[in-house]
């Protein structure tokens, strides 16, 4: 499939902490088409960031291990790429925008110094060219006074400005894919609106694919073409964004959407999912969501459900099993 820019197959990642090992990614499959925005939603700890770091090759070397699976970017499998080759991809073919604009910029270097880095790494450019390129990109993300800003330090900028700088950093290499890991979570709503709009515009202009990680269904609704729902290290549902909101198949996705305050009558109790997200070391046999699922039956506690596919809609739930569809 040549229109796939990224394809992740059965990814499993394991961490060593002390003498224990945990496996926060326990089989993840998804793909992004060229020009598409794919949303990944899931609650804290569901493995969104780990997955994205794996794609960037930025997992901690000593303590983490990809125990199985492939990450195919542009036809190449990244899981067994050498560090040196990976470096050529990063900031060039794939870029990343991180969650915390406050801490993601180095406090002791000027904005200009930090922005020139991907150019120094991937392009042969003179100092002048580098500077003008940076100023161009900064203008593109709507930063005023770009000529001055490049000589300033991160702490002199506000959160929104820093996130814009982060976005411009990602844009510099003109990548085919941008991964944005909760790019607006740390920002205020009004600033979030600015940044989301900016990202939409930029994606359109530059013809890139966007992997947008978030825990906010609103952001998904606003930005994405397709959505992957993660829960405790697994993908439980994948669908077109409209399809997902109109016809969620997995009880977890249903629960999430139902519990949005806007879906509930004012001043009444909200729909809620009981219990809490299991920690990676609490995961047991069967479906990972079974202990919180209002529809769970025996099988759910015994066997891990397979992926059921209905067109472009996938769900990992026994309810979709054709042999067992007595429940609504």
């Amino acid at each position: 499939m040549s229109d796939m820019i990224l394809k992740v197959n059965d990814l499993k990642i394991q961490f060593k902490t002390g003498k224990k090992t945990v496996q926060p990614i326990r089989g993840v499959d998804f793909s992004i088409k060229k020009g598409e925005t794919l949303g990944v939603v899931g609650e804290s700890g569901s493995g969104k960031s780990v997955t994205s770091l794996a794609v960037m090759g930025l997992l901690p070397e000593k303590t983490s291990e990809i125990i199985s699976g492939e990450i195919i970017f542009d036809g190449k499998d990244l899981t067994n790429l050498k560090e040196k080759q990976f470096r050529k991809l990063r900031g060039n073919d794939i870029s990343m925008i991180f969650q915390e604009p406050m801490t993601s910029l180095n406090p002791v270097f000027t904005i200009g110094e930090q922005l020139s880095e991907p150019l120094k790494q991937h392009r042969k450019m003179s100092k002048k060219e580098i500077e003008s390129t940076i100023i161009d990109v900064l203008n593109q993300v709507g930063i005023p006074r770009a000529e001055q800003i490049i000589n300033e330090y991160p702490h002199q900028l506000s959160g929104g400005m820093r996130q814009r700088v982060m976005i411009s950093l990602a844009l510099l290499g003109q990548p085919k894919l941008i991964i944005a890991d909760e790019p607006t979570t740390a920002l205020d709503v009004t600033i979030q609106a600015q940044i989301l709009k900016l990202m939409k515009d930029i994606k359109k202009e530059n013809d890139m694919s966007l992997l947008l990680i978030t825990h906010d269904l609103g952001v998904v609704a606003e930005m994405c073409d397709r959505v992957v729902v993660m829960y405790a290290g697994e993908i439980v549902e994948v669908a077109e964004v409209n399809e997902l909101f109109d016809n969620p198949l997995h009880p977890y996705t249903k629960g999430l959407i139902e519990s949005l305050p806007s879906k509930n009558t004012r001043k009444n109790r909200l729909y809620s999912i009981k219990g809490q997200v299991p920690k990676p070391d609490e995961i047991t046999e069967g479906c990972i969501f079974a202990n919180r699922c209002p529809f769970a039956f025996e099988k759910c506690f015994e066997e891990t459900p397979p992926i059921h596919q209905f067109g472009n809609h996938m769900s990992k739930c026994w309810l979709q099993d054709s042999n067992k569809d007595e429940v609504s």
Binding site: M161, V189, I191, Q192, K274, Q276
Partner: protein, 337 residues
Amino acid sequence: MEAKILLEIKNLKKHFEISQGMFKEKINVRAVDDISFSIKEGETFALVGESGCGKSTTGRTILRLTDPTDGQIIFKGKNIENLPYNQMRSLRNSMQMVFQDPYASLNPKKTIRQILMEPLRVHSKFPKEERLEKINNMLKIVGLSEEHLDRYPHEFSGGQRQRIGIARAVILQPDFIIADEPVSALDVSVQSQVINLMLDLQKEFGLTYLFISHDLSVIEHMTDRVAVMYLGKIVEIADTEELFANPKHPYTQALISAVPISHPTEEKERIILTGDVPSPANPPSGCSFHTRCPFAMDVCRKVAPEAKEFKNGHKANCHLYTDSEKKEEKEYAINHS
């Protein structure tokens, strides 16, 4: 049936002096700058606004967790802004707080039993023998059980901790609870559980809430009245439904319009504000919102707007409405921009 006023805030100010390290001059942060509002018995009053606008500071000042710089705090008809620590202490059994961070607000060295026993002991509430029973009851109400009594906070999840925090506040059966972003730190699926709990408790004990949040959809769902803050000032107060239906202040409008859509097919008109929130240490002159306001006029840069009252206690501080002749026209302009 006009409800009694439980809490009234008049011209409250709280300024912080902070030293900027050794190389810079001290700056004066006007975290809360002359705000007034009142909360009726049994209602849920919301404070909303962007980060750093002074919501928490307002809450903490009302509870006298920090001392106000100026202004009045009248609780149940009694001025409390100058009460000394020990007199304030005895008042605290009727006003309590739920904190944002469920991890930081419980002493890691105390068991749940100790944490819940302390308020009872301090205020000599209930006879000694009954206290444990009350605690067990409370635990049940917040969805925990007796077997959790001797555990330490770190053995609980965030949602459970927040419930313990709520239990601690409610166990004294106070009249008034300030909840400072009680759900912001929680996972989406847990957030609704905690909101439900708060709604239940309000029903059961007839509580009055001051609910601080930046999440407009939560506010819309569970509060009765809302005050919108910007840079230490209240720019608009209204009944919740009224505010969401008919926001007056450009900032409120922008805020509401910035909330992400809840369904992909939803169309939404957006007022995208330019620029960032200015620092409260150095607020703009005149109307502090004028730097980002799409309708800013000359007067906005110079004169701070007075509150303008609309129907049903809906108030907004904006020059657009002070000029009574052009009022209609401008309202129209805003609503159709």
